[in-house]
Assembly symmetry: C2
Homo-oligomer: 463 residues x 2
């Protein structure tokens, strides 16, 4: 593949300024107050694909936020790669912890990124990463080096469960037909240690509501005499883990894939410093399921975490009240071969069963998805591996991620093709957190590596 | 005492409209955003005392909100009654549960109040109740029937722990010298069952903060591998009660006054319907400390309740985050002879001791006060009893309240005088809750009853 590095360095400034414009739009899909911004972002994405030289660019309406489609079909005899990404972002709160406004991107140098990193919500997850693909196709089309057919599907509901995507994929098998799916929405082990994500955890996200008395009560007049929904909620949540941090929901572990000691030993070879990990988070000890290492706990083991809790008086000062209701958002990360719908039902049944008399319980499922694993002997994996070797000079390490991209399992089911996760982010990018950022090194490296995937995938496929 | 009923009925409309004006000012002491409103309310109170005919009306500056003082000294040989009340109110949230805006008072008829009730924050607690005293003195002065000396001390920080009052009382022993203290900030058993509160619970109110990782984390990448501050907080709070709902803080019960079976039998005679109680709250069972009745649980037993809890993402939709911090506001109701400072320290020590490794704990005491009991053989109690007999035609029942008026214990310590709690509110008034209200019947009855207390107290004292 000729002069890709020179093309990137020649266009560095423009590639960056275009991404900064994209990052300025607060496309927060979880909060309906930002509806117009999310829609504006879809417009921006379709425009950028047109400018890159794609055909059939289309903003496809859905029940929720639109899906942007585009393609470049050069020869029906050549393989087709479907690129997936998402243009929506996580809510930025807590805002007070950001050193610069989340939607006013700035370039700052850090110890890890002396050449600079882009600080903004969505910089890495996933605006920065899907935009690498837009710039990669621009290079391939403008230099007449596109080796295969490429399709783009960029959605706006990934951070809220890709609600509309399932229907879209089900109804567009032909339009989305492909030989492999390529996604950059994950990370590498380190800046100089490329890796390919071969596994993703599934997810079940629920919201619970506990109702006690029919109104808020004076804690002096009623304290001690009626069930306090907040106290009850804490007892119920606390009971979901035993003293070894195993999850106590009956049947929760029944279908969990147990890895062999060999596989676990293989995983353990990935470079990892527990001291650095603790130092980065400013914690004195790690905490988790007995019998597993930190890297196992956040990749091959299922978990249950409260993502939010609220009830009663949470303002300034003191209010002596017993709240009528208490709430929590709870998510479970799942592994092969747990079924997210089955786990959601197990949770609901169990949580309702442990409620004491005197309160009412409501469990509302939010969204979820299945776990996923890619075999490392597939053509797609091999092509990705060779692409990284060319640009990083190192063979990438296969790794399981703790995160979830629920739609990956859906793609395999509906489109019958495997997904390759070529991520260029880093754990330290603080995605979903204040001060999310994405290294300029990673951004440009991604743009250089992606075209090579197309090249090697086409070669291996046409053999 | 002559023509008090006729005076009240002649001035009904004015007595009401004046109170409604007072209720329109949002004097929320817990929220600094309402500072000016709280100060305006102090002005309003001092003006109303002047109009009522009081002398030496003064808005006394403090570190916090001012204390309004006024008096009417007619003869130094006559006994002196000190009236205490508070012009600040609880925060009104949750606002969406109010049927009419909390600071736009309206009169509505209810089954219990066919002649109407005033719906507004502070209607009963305590604006409506202290204003009865302002109207009572107006009657006594304007008709030349004041039988004794009267002093007023109306503060603006009762709902946030009366922070400045202690210092004010300590520094003004002479100014506040009195033979008995009279407070209307409690309730009666029922509209037709007058009662006098002989006991109050003490209070210790604290705020706790749990800190885990130094930033919010992605629950996929870190879930299961680090201590989640919210999960940890729920475990810690859950452990504060055992399976019998006894509080597990070591030493918590050491100084609790155990009532004799005779005393408990006496208490049990107060009219009470558990069915009606459950129906009013829309709960199927009551819940509390093993071995005690509902009325004992909320009066003679100490309790621990979470008044507020928050952490993580509590907005619309879903966010897969592990919060860096989680918080709770926790209050303990205390009984004789627990010392609130000692209990606060016991809580702090215990709560810090049960924190698992991997998190940091901060316990911040908010405020508190001692429990209190009034002997029913005192002159003050007898005078109040006779006053109720005249206006209700029934002997009032002595009862212990679950609420706290921390300064009552302080008054006895500093001013060496007992406090009589002549409350005219009802449990159903929903104080500290949405739709707080105060019956017009109760308001006018209070204005008629208070002057009789002055009369009988003076007679008994001068015997």
């Amino acid at each position: 593949m000729n002069n890709i590095t020179s093309y990137v360095s020649k266009n560095k400034e423009r590639f960056l300024s275009e991404l900064l414009e994209l990052l300025k739009i607060p496309s927060i899909s979880a909060d309906s107050a930002y509806k117009n911004d999310v829609l504006l972002t879809a417009e921006f994405v379709s425009e950028s694909l047109k400018k890159a030289g794609c055909d059939n660019v289309e903003i496809c309406k859905t029940e929720g936020y639109p899906i942007v489609y585009a393609d470049k079909i050069i020869d029906s005899n050549l393989p087709t790669v479907l690129v997936y990404g998402h243009y929506d972002v996580q809510p930025p709160d807590p805002l007070n912890l950001w050193n610069s406004p989340p939607f006013e991107p700035v370039i700052k140098n850090t110890d890890l990124h002396p050449e600079g990193a882009i600080f903004a919500r969505g910089a890495c997850d996933d605006k920065g990463q899907f935009y690498m693909h837009v710039k990669a196709i621009e290079f391939l089309i403008s230099t007449n080096q596109l080796p295969c057919n490429v399709k783009f599907m960029i959605e706006g509901e990934e951070e809220v469960g890709s609600t509309s995507l399932a229907g879209f994929v089900k109804n567009n098998h032909e339009k989305l037909a492909n030989d492999v799916i390529l996604i950059s929405d994950t990370g590498m082990i380190a800046k100089d240690v490329p890796s390919i994500t071969t596994g993703l955890r599934g997810l079940s996200y629920v919201e619970v509501e506990i109702t006690g008395p029919n109104r808020d009560l004076h804690s002096g007049l009623y304290g001690g005499a009626v069930a306090n929904p907040i106290n009850v909620l804490t007892k119920m949540i606390a009971s979901l883990h035993d003293e070894n941090n195993h999850i106590t929901i009956p049947g929760f572990y029944d279908k969990v894939e147990e890895l062999s000691l060999e596989e676990r030993a293989e995983m353990a070879k990935a470079p990892f410093s527990l001291e650095a990990y603790k130092k980065a988070l400013d914690i004195d000890v790690v905490y988790g399921e007995e019998g597993y290492t930190t890297n196992e706990r956040n990749s091959i083991r299922p978990t249950l975490d409260v993502n939010g809790i609220w009830g009663g008086y949470i303002g300034e000062g003191a209010k002596t009240v017993i709240a009528s209701k208490a709430y929590a958002k709870i998510s479970m990360r799942l592994v092969p071969d747990q079924d997210w719908l089955e786990i959601t039902n197990l949770f609901k049944t169990h949580f309702e069963s442990i409620a004491p008399k005197g309160v009412k319980v409501k469990v509302t499922p939010h969204h979820g998805g299945q776990a996923y694993v890619t075999p490392i002997n597939s053509i797609g994996y091999q092509a990705a591996s060779k692409a990284y070797e060319d640009t990083f000079g190192k063979t990438p390490i296969p790794q399981r991620s703790g995160g979830s991209i629920p739609i990956v399992a859906l793609f395999e089911k509906e489109l019958k093709s495997k997904t390759i996760l070529m991520g260029f982010g880093l754990d330290s990018d603080a995605i979903h957190s204040p001060n999310e950022h994405f290294g300029l090194f990673n951004y440009y490296k991604g743009i250089e590596t992606i075209p090579l995937f197309y090249k090697y995938f086409t070669e291996l496929k046409m053999k």
